[in-house]
């Protein structure tokens, strides 16, 4: 199928509508908390966005557009039956995140939070991609309604990526679920969900239920608003907080452990929740990706604890074991909360966390990074290659989770890893034009590509990304979107290959 400006208009309208509706809870909070100034600014935002959405729908409606453009018949087909091809899915998913981020930045600008539009865009992208990188120095000074809006973008972004990963991409693969397709965002070779909207509704239910559960568990220990913000930040793996010291506010309380557990839960594949709901406990327990994920988290947490235990007292945070588990979970799940300033920790801890930044969570979860299953496949690939050199005539297929995903799929995974390396290096090259020191630049790129949030040095925990110039912030925003869409989709749009030879 082809894409024309009407599809784009429709996507934009849809995005504006969702953003407009999502502002309403924040608007309600502004009235409840008597923040009338914020209310006066948020209300027009919501109104304009919803109106824009209605207009967008009106003008891209099939009946109307057929008058303007004969190609619009395709649109109709898209909506009703036809399955969009890979080109369309790629463009639509990138456009979706771009539009959402642009519209999401409107409330920040309306409230005068940032001087530059680039800053507002960055903050909004950081929300919708569940990164959690921030430019706001003093969050405690912000009106509550705006804080809620910031967390809403993160929560919504987490939900959207679940939809895209679980429903849209396999849907795009269509009747021929080719491994090369399935790899790109959903990750696993099998098609976990049917394309009817039932699984979409289930995802929404699971996501909301997890958020509610965390909210209820956090409530006894803190104010309802704090609990709300942190449950939204945790389940979406975004990691926005309403405290200047972030999650360090809860250091030493039971809330820190609850967050640790829920960060891990949030980074589990949504397929695991489907299995739980359908009581397929055997499949749940035997899921290879979850096992590797938990094993990695435990090993990392134990290494961090040991290193902190033997570290000189100046480097040791107050509750070192708790902090170690928290940081391991926060980095691996790409939430990016932090209970301690790990920039002060021993180098071994920093190196461990740096490694975890590239791993990320499980497939079909809101977590970012390269994803656990890919890392496992890469190690299997290395192992296979070494044994093939010893036994050149052996045929050793790569197995994962008891299945044999096929050579094409494995080569797509390897290609993704190579792309990750290439984007990391070239992203840092571009960012280094800005002149920040090497560690800040490279960890900033890794943290944004991996949708984590904080990095090291000048972009460490609690520092924000204020050191960078407007251009660099824009670059980081694009890296966040690229990382959110597993790189391939976003980077491909920059190549002539995508735009030429339409067949």
């Amino acid at each position: 199928m082809g894409i024309n400006y009407l599809t784009v208009l429709r996507i934009a309208g849809f995005s504006a509508g969702i953003t407009g509706i999502a502002i309403l809870p924040s608007l309600a909070v502004s009235f409840l908390c008597a923040e009338y100034d914020a209310a006066a600014r948020l209300a027009p935002c919501a109104a304009v966005l919803i109106l824009a959405a209605l207009l967008g729908f009106r003008f891209s409606a099939p009946g109307f557009s057929a008058l303007l453009h004969p190609g619009a018949a395709h649109l109709h087909a898209l909506r009703e039956h036809a399955e969009p091809g890979p080109r369309a899915v790629i463009l639509l998913s990138v456009l979706w995140w771009l539009f959402s981020s642009v519209f999401g930045a409107v409330p920040y600008l309306a409230c005068g939070l940032f001087e530059h539009a680039a800053d507002a865009f960055f903050e909004s992208v950081s929300g919708f991609t569940t990164t959690g990188a921030t430019l706001i120095g003093d969050v405690e000074a912000l009106p509550r309604s705006l804080l809620l809006w910031r967390s809403t973008t993160g929560w919504l972004g987490g939900l959207e990526i679940l939809f895209v990963a679980a429903v849209l991409i396999p849907f795009a693969a269509g009747a021929h679920p080719h491994p090369a397709h399935a790899e790109t965002a959903a990750g696993l070779p099998e098609r976990p969900f049917s394309k009817n909207s039932g699984s979409g509704r289930m995802l929404l239910a699971i996501y909301s239920a997890l958020t509610l559960l965390l909210f209820l568990l956090l409530s006894p220990g803190m104010k309802p608003f704090d609990a709300l913000i942190h449950s939204m930040g945790t389940i979406s793996t975004g990691g926005f907080s309403n405290f200047n010291d972030g999650a360090a506010h809860f250091s030493g309380t039971s809330a820190a452990w609850i967050l640790t557990v829920f960060m891990m839960l949030a980074a589990l594949s949504s397929m695991q929740y489907f299995r739980m709901l359908s009581r397929r406990w055997g499949a749940f327990v035997q899921d290879a990706e979850m096992r590797y994920f938990l094993a990695m988290a435990c090993v990392a947490a134990i290494l961090l604890s040991l290193s902190l235990h033997f570290a000189p007292s100046a480097m040791r945070p107050a509750r070192s074991a708790g902090s170690a588990f928290f940081e391991a979970a926060a980095t691996l799940s790409t939430t990016g909360y932090s209970v301690a300033d790990y920039d002060l920790w021993p180098t071994f801890c920093q190196a461990t966390l740096f490694l975890l930044m590239f791993v990320g969570g499980c497939s079909a979860s809101p977590a970012g990074g390269m994803k656990v299953f890919r890392i496992v496949i890469l190690f299997k690939l290395i192992h296979r290659n070494i044994s093939l050199r010893l036994h050149p005539n052996a045929v050793v297929p790569i197995k994962f989770d008891g299945k044999t995903p096929g050579a094409d799929w494995v080569s797509a995974v390897a290609g993704h890893a190579l792309l990750y390396i290439a984007v990391f290096f070239s992203g840092t090259l571009l960012l280094s034009l800005d002149g920040a020191d090497m560690l800040s630049s490279l960890s900033g790129v890794a943290a944004c590509m991996g949708n984590i949030g904080p990095g090291f040095a000048q972009v460490g925990p609690g520092d924000g990304y204020t050191v960078f110039s407007a251009g660099a912030k824009l670059l980081l925003s694009l890296l966040m979107i690229a990382g959110r869409l597993e790189l391939t989709a976003a980077v491909m749009l920059l190549t002539p290959l995508y735009w030429s030879g339409r067949k």
């Binding site: 021993p346 740096f354 590239f358 070494i386 052996a394 094409d408 080569s411 280094s432």
Partner: protein
């Protein structure tokens, strides 16, 4: 395992190392360095005996070597060479500890050129010469050298050459592997003589000229002065040294085209083209960027600084002449990327190698294509020729493994407690066989900040990088040691 052949080849290598110490001994004698001469004699004699016994005691029934044995021999010989090459350091008392001497010797053979020594002009000249000569031997490969002078080693040599020469080995010049090896060494030798003469023309004394010739042809980058090549304060010498580093980083296989006067083919070689393109682009960009920041006295001076540091990083020689840590961040990051990338395959440079980076981009492109056309079958092509599926998979895995080993060794090295930047760059530089890095091991820094276990680990990492990972890592897999089971 064909232990007879293994012990015979090991014997040859040990003899070779003993013989290679003789010129260093002569220099020591000529300089009247009594202690140093005794140390060399004390190293040479036992090695001669050991090597002789190993050769004479074994009578191999067949010279066939399989992959398994080829890998074993190469890894064994490199570790042995580094360990035995450390003897003169220990006996002379210049570096009394074994680990430190092993580090220095491994840095020599692997052409890394990292040093623990601080006051270089105070080191006995014979030892200095030995250190540089080990560079030169390691540059093209100790075993390849043995193969080229002793074709009798024979039929199984292919697996040895594969394990020791750098790069994925997509093509070879001649059908006979010993001719191939000979060709590499003839060119290596010719360039070395040429550079030596050119350095003499630059009013260097023969001893300094030899040291710097060894350092640049092997892209090891050792100097006998603390300030390196900046000591001579001569643009001519700097240029000659950098120029020959670059020549040594071009694929020696590609020189075959030049040899047959096929100029156009030489420059059409995709790897050679990419290498020169990257080189020129980096120099131009950094030169302009330095000019903007006002680093360097004039435009020409900025360009000169850019040329020297870029060639020091891309060729993995590490002949840096200025403190690039003060440069704009983007220039430093380019240098770091060049450090990872390295030179061409079948050269003396370290790093991932240009040809693999080219294949990496082709693979990414193919992945994009397959995303759009899922059922297409697309071959990876380089310069019009198809890269075989096996080679593609080997290259993919090599790159992945490079980063896995890099991050893994950063993790291990971080136990030493240096800052993260220094640790990262130490692991990257070691693996790429470059002597210099960033942070505390940048311009003018030495590796004595690391503890003894960390130095030992770094030594292993240098050999790992020189032998391009597989040869060493394959020995660590259980299936290697259980040949009859799959």
């Amino acid at each position: 395992m064909n232990f007879h052949v293994i012990s015979k080849i090991t014997g040859v290598i040990i003899l070779m190392i003993a013989l290679a110490m003789v010129p260093a001994l002569l220099i020591s004698l000529a300089m009247g360095e009594g202690g140093m001469s005794r140390a060399f004699i004390a190293s040479i004699l036992p090695l001669l005996v050991l090597g002789g016994v190993l050769i004479l005691a074994t009578k191999p029934l067949s010279t066939r070597l399989r992959m398994r044995e080829g890998v074993f021999i190469v890894a064994l010989c490199w570790i042995l060479a580094s360990a035995l090459g450390a003897l003169p350091y220990i006996f002379s008392g210049v570096i009394p500890g074994f680990i430190d001497a092993f580090f220095e010797s491994a840095a020599g053979f692997s052409t890394t050129g990292a040093t623990l020594l601080a006051d270089l002009p105070g080191i006995p000249r014979g030892l200095m010469f030995w250190r540089s000569l080990s560079h030169w031997l390691g540059g093209m490969g100790i075993l390849v050298f043995a193969i080229s002078i002793l074709p009798a080693l024979g039929i199984g040599a292919l697996n040895i050459a594969k394990a020791e020469t750098t790069g994925p080995g997509l093509e070879k010049v001649t059908t006979r592997i010993s001719d191939n090896a000979k060709f590499l060494y003839v060119i290596y030798f010719a360039f070395s003589v040429l550079e030596f003469l050119l350095l003499l023309l630059g009013k260097m004394n023969p001893y300094d000229a030899a040291i710097h010739m060894f350092g640049s042809m092997s892209t090891g980058g050792l100097s006998n002065y603390d300030k390196g090549i900046a000591e001579f304060n001569s643009p001519y010498i700097e240029f000659v040294v950098a120029f020959f580093c670059i020549l040594a980083s071009v694929s020696f296989i590609a020189y075959n085209e030049l040899f047959h006067r096929r100029w156009r083919e030489f420059f059409r070689e995709p790897e050679v083209r990419a290498f020169f393109f990257i080189l020129v682009a980096s120099i131009a960009f950094i030169g302009v960027r330095l000019r903007i920041s006002g680093i360097g006295d004039s435009a020409a001076d900025s360009l000169r600084l850019a040329f020297l540091q870029v060639s020091a990083f891309i060729t993995s020689s590490g002949y840096v002449s200025t403190d690039y840590a003060a440069w704009p961040m983007v220039c430093q990051w380019i240098l770091l990327m060049l450090l990872f990338m390295g030179g061409c395959s079948s050269s003396t440079a370290g790093g991932i190698k240009i040809v693999r980076v080219l294949v990496l981009f082709r693979l990414i492109h193919r992945n994009f294509y397959k995303r759009l056309h899922p059922r297409a079958v697309v071959a990876v092509k380089l310069g019009g020729r198809t890269v075989s599926a096996e080679n593609v998979s080997n290259i993919t895995v090599f790159i992945l493994m490079y980063f896995v080993v890099f991050l893994g060794s950063t993790l291990l090295l971080s136990l030493d407690g240096q800052d993260l930047g220094t640790t990262l760059s130490a692991a990257a530089a070691r693996l790429s066989n470059n002597g210099v890095g960033f942070g505390k091991i940048g311009y003018g820094g030495t590796y004595d900040i690391f503890s003894a276990p960390a130095r030992l680990f770094l030594s292993v990492l240098m050999i790992l990088g020189r032998l391009e990972l597989f040869t060493v890592l394959i020995l660590l897999t259980p299936s290697y040691w259980r040949p009859n089971r799959q």
